[in-house]
């Protein structure tokens, strides 16, 4: 067991990720994630101050496409595969509080 994580933090992370956790699941997730972070503590002792992060393994730059139209997908086919649609649009339950 470790104190690297609290249930509060896990609950906040679950909210960010749009996942519901029951109280039991929250406790279990806190234990498991905490345990993992303990294992990951092996890197704490490394001095990484002067190390540049490496984001992608193969160094490519300037990959560009021409501004040319490509075929689009068929709307009816796409909407038929959607959970719910109306008037050519995707139907979703009401949006509370804005973000966009």
């Amino acid at each position: 067991m470790s104190d690297r994580l609290t249930p509060d933090v896990v609950a906040k992370v679950a909210r960010l990720a749009r996942l519901d956790l029951t109280p039991d699941e929250l406790d279990r997730a806190t234990d498991q994630l905490s345990d993992m972070l303990d294992h990951f503590a092996d890197i704490d002792k490394l001095d990484l101050r002067d190390v540049e992060p490496l984001n992608s393994p193969y160094p490519l730059v300037n990959v560009l496409r021409d501004d040319v139209e490509q075929p689009t997908l068929d709307r009816d086919e796409v909407l038929a595969a959607a959970p719910k649609s109306e008037d050519g649009r995707f139907w979703v339950p009401p949006i509370l509080g804005g973000d966009s």
Binding site: L16, R18, N55, S56, L60, V61, N62, V63, L64, R65, D66, D67, V68, E69, Q70, P71, T72, L73, R75, V78, L79, E86, D87, G88, R89, F90, W91, V92, P93, P94, I95, L96, G97, G98, D99, S100
Partner: protein, 488 residues
């Protein structure tokens, strides 16, 4: 062309203050780029199409779909940066993670740590320099229609999502907090819009959403510490920019004066009631979990590419205002100069001058008669030049010239002298005029006495009499000259 874009210098000169506070304003302007296709896929970038017809796996955020960057979008973004005096630099793309139903991947691909354009500036017509922090590329979200009872976000029964706009290339232009009045903010947006149009980067239509303004507003005692700022969203016209900022600054001042703290918030401008409303608090700070987009590679614009784009830039509005003002002998922020350059009619004015026309008269006519036209008014420059020559030669009065110009506009050009003749606009010779002056003096002895006594206003009655008698054909300038002579 809305009247919003006609900015006057009188108002901008007046510093804004309320209860001894000043406002500190920075603007974030999103513009949709005028590309054929989206930022990361080949679906059309087109406004007004049937919903969900401009879609492909990337736009829909389908599993397995991958983005590929649009070269033309990069080039237009570079044009914006260069026109704003920015440094174009090597840059990267990042994911901004948040859930929203019109954001298909649940992350927006944007530029975070290393934007394409940094550290530029924009000069307002009156010379005020507004810093540009960055102008970065990102993708647009889709559109949400709130259906049901109220038609608004709150209380909607459900919402409908159209992804045609999702993935459309945007450039977000972030100014430094250098604006101190609503008028400056309006001028900034107006000037920015003119630049975007001039370089062809965007159609910049606020009413269609291809140019969108968010305002960061705080207030402070002049020279004091910066206050807590609020971000105002949904400012949909240049006029609203000024109104929203004014309202918000006053709201904050009233709060502070009432002993309350300004909370850091995102607020929504309601055009209807003319107020800003809380959208959400920023206390529960947004956690966007930015990280470099692993599906894209860095963009490192070679110097040759940047220079090629730079050399393709047209002369920008600020330089064009200076040139026109110099020619016309007025100030660059003179309303007529600003208006004409804004409409792109400055080249036309120079064409009139090249054809031998009078620059002063040309500026007046272009400003007044061509408001509904774009860069190419329907009257050949030579015809307007001929008209101004008739005016300066005393053959036509200003009023007559206006009438002739209206006919030229109607007919798409013509010989001004012939049109003047059609209207019976013949220049009266001086003896004819002198007779009319004598007649007016005789008819209005009171006015004549007052005028002789030095009451300048009385001249109006005499001139009016002559104009009426001549059916407007008398040259007002000449009439007043004769009256002065008679007075002795």
């Amino acid at each position: 062309m809305s009247t919003d874009t006609n900015v006057t210098s009188e108002t901008s000169a007046a510093p804004w203050a309320f209860e001894g506070y000043e406002m500190v304003v920075g603007l974030e302007v999103h513009v949709e780029l005028a590309t054929r296709t989206k930022l990361f896929s080949g679906s059309p970038n087109r406004f007004g199409d049937e919903p969900n017809t401009n879609i492909d796996p990337v736009t829909l955020g389908l599993p397995g779909a991958l983005p590929v960057l649009n070269r033309q979008a990069v080039e237009l973004a570079m044009k914006i940066g260069l026109a704003l005096n920015c440094t174009v630099q090597p840059c990267t793309f990042a994911r901004k993670n948040y859930f929203y139903p019109d954001m298909p991947k649940a992350y927006q691909i944007s530029q975070y740590e290393d934007p394409l354009n940094v550290d530029g500036w924009l000069d307002l017509p009156d010379g005020t320099r507004i810093g540009i922090e960055r102008a970065h590329m990102e993708e647009d979200a889709g559109k949400t229609v709130h259906a049901g009872a109220s038609g608004r976000v709150h209380g909607a029964e459900h919402s409908l999502i159209d992804l045609n706009r999702a993935g459309v290339p945007l450039v977000e232009i972030v100014s430094r907090p250098d604006m101190r009045s609503p008028e400056q903010a309006r001028q900034y947006v107006s000037e920015l819009r003119a630049i975007l149009l001039a370089v062809g980067a965007s159609d910049a239509k606020m009413e269609e959403g291809s140019m969108r303004v968010d305002a960061n507003v705080s207030v402070r005692r002049p020279g004091g510490e910066l206050g807590t700022r609020c971000e105002i969203k949904n400012v949909n016209s240049i006029r609203s920019v000024g109104r929203a900022i004014e309202y918000e600054a006053k709201r904050q001042i009233v709060l502070i004066e009432g002993g309350e703290a300004v909370r850091q918030q995102t607020r929504h401008w309601d055009e209807g009631d003319g107020k800003t409303h809380t959208l959400r608090d920023k206390e529960d700070a947004d956690d966007y979990r930015y990280f470099l987009e692993p599906d894209l590679v860095p963009l490192v614009p070679e110097r040759s590419w940047v220079e090629a784009v730079r050399s393709s830039l047209p002369v920008l509005p600020s330089a064009r205002r200076v040139a026109l003002a110099e020619a016309a002998g007025s100030a660059p922020d003179d309303e007529s100069i600003v208006t004409i350059v804004d409409r792109g009619q400055d080249a036309y004015v120079f064409a009139v001058v090249d054809a031998g026309g009078d620059v002063g008269r040309a500026v007046v006519h272009v400003q007044q008669a061509f408001a509904e036209f774009d860069a190419a008014p329907p009257v050949p420059a030579g015809d307007l030049a001929a008209l101004t020559t008739l005016e300066t030669g005393g053959q036509l009065t200003a009023t007559q010239a206006k009438t002739v110009l209206a006919v030229l506009v109607d007919r798409g050009g013509g010989d001004p002298a012939a049109i003047a003749a059609e209207h019976g606009f013949e220049a009266m010779d001086t003896s004819e005029l002198e007779a009319m002056v004598d007649e007016a003096i005789a008819a209005q002895p009171d006015a004549w006495e007052k005028f002789r006594a030095g009451e300048g206003k009385a001249m109006g009655a005499l001139v009016g009499h002559i104009m009426k008698a001549s059916k407007g054909q008398a040259d007002g300038k000449l009439v007043s000259q004769i009256l002065q002579q008679r007075k002795g």
